[in-house]
Symmetry: C2
Subunit: 141 residues, 2 copies
DNA sequence: CTCATTGCAAACGGTTTGCACTGGT
DNA sequence: ACCAGTGCAAACCGTTTGCAATGAG
């Protein structure tokens, strides 16, 4: 996976530039322990880098996803959410409190192979989101 | 599961009403062999029932999801997609051509139990979408 | 007749676009 | 100096809301 420090040179070698905006957004995503929406990234980013615009946030996120540095997922909050693509893992979202919990990739690995064999698809979305009710919300319903 | 014909009385017994709008939208979803977006449902529905509005489509879909008659899912086309909640199945979406393919529920059943045991969550999202490349798109990349 | 449901119009919020300017290399 | 990347403003599009009118029961 990508360590943080070699990303700038990695991008430069491909003809891209490392700008303050990209740095701030990458740092935010790397330091966050949860998904962030474009709006959240814009608010947090504008604190550190006044003048940052939402346009740039969207363009930067699309760029980082293209480069495989960031992953997008939909967890039901209405906006896509983004996170640093560091580690293979998945999410289990509570429909009650919207809190999310990580799931290790291992239990899904077999399933992926099984799907590939059965369908002929090259299953490359290594990020799956499940929905359910967490233990503390289970009682409420 | 729900057969189509008993839905009207099912809703009436709960104090709701069966309107032409709800009927048309239910029929569309039941006859479609794929997911439909609110916009698609509006266009198809307005053909059969002139005067139908987008507002009504959105409200009706939310209502049908509440009643458990319809399921929503996000497949990456930007809008939520809806389908009749008849059968337990999942989807595998091709990132190349956006065509989708059904996956039987069986291979995932074990995984759900496994997740429930490991996390304590009551996993109730019985609809998962995977992404990948279909056999014919695999060559293009 | 009543109240759930609809239509209309307007607001809303997230996202995208065009274009001139800026700043990384 | 060049061109990738940004800011700004406006457009865009899907979705939601308020309110009066409608029509299913």
């Amino acid at each position: 996976m990508n360590t943080y420090t070699d990303i700038p040179s990695q991008l430069r070698s491909l003809g891209f530039r490392m700008t303050p905006q990209r740095l701030v957004i990458l740092q935010l995503l790397q330091e966050a322990d949860c998904h962030l929406t474009p709006t959240e990234i814009y608010r947090l980013g504008a604190d550190q880098l006044p003048g940052l615009t939402e346009t740039t946030v969207y363009r930067t996120l699309a760029f980082l996803v293209d480069q495989g540095l960031v992953m997008a997922s939909y967890t039901g909050r209405g906006q896509l959410e983004y996170e640093f693509a560091g580690r293979l893992h998945h999410h289990l979202i509570c429909k009650g409190c919207h809190r999310s919990r990580e799931i290790d990739h291992q239990p899904l690995a077999d399933l992926y192979h099984c799907l590939q064999d059965a369908t002929g698809y090259q299953v490359d979305s290594m990020h799956v989101t499940f929905f359910g009710l967490c233990p503390s919300c289970k009682g409420d319903r």
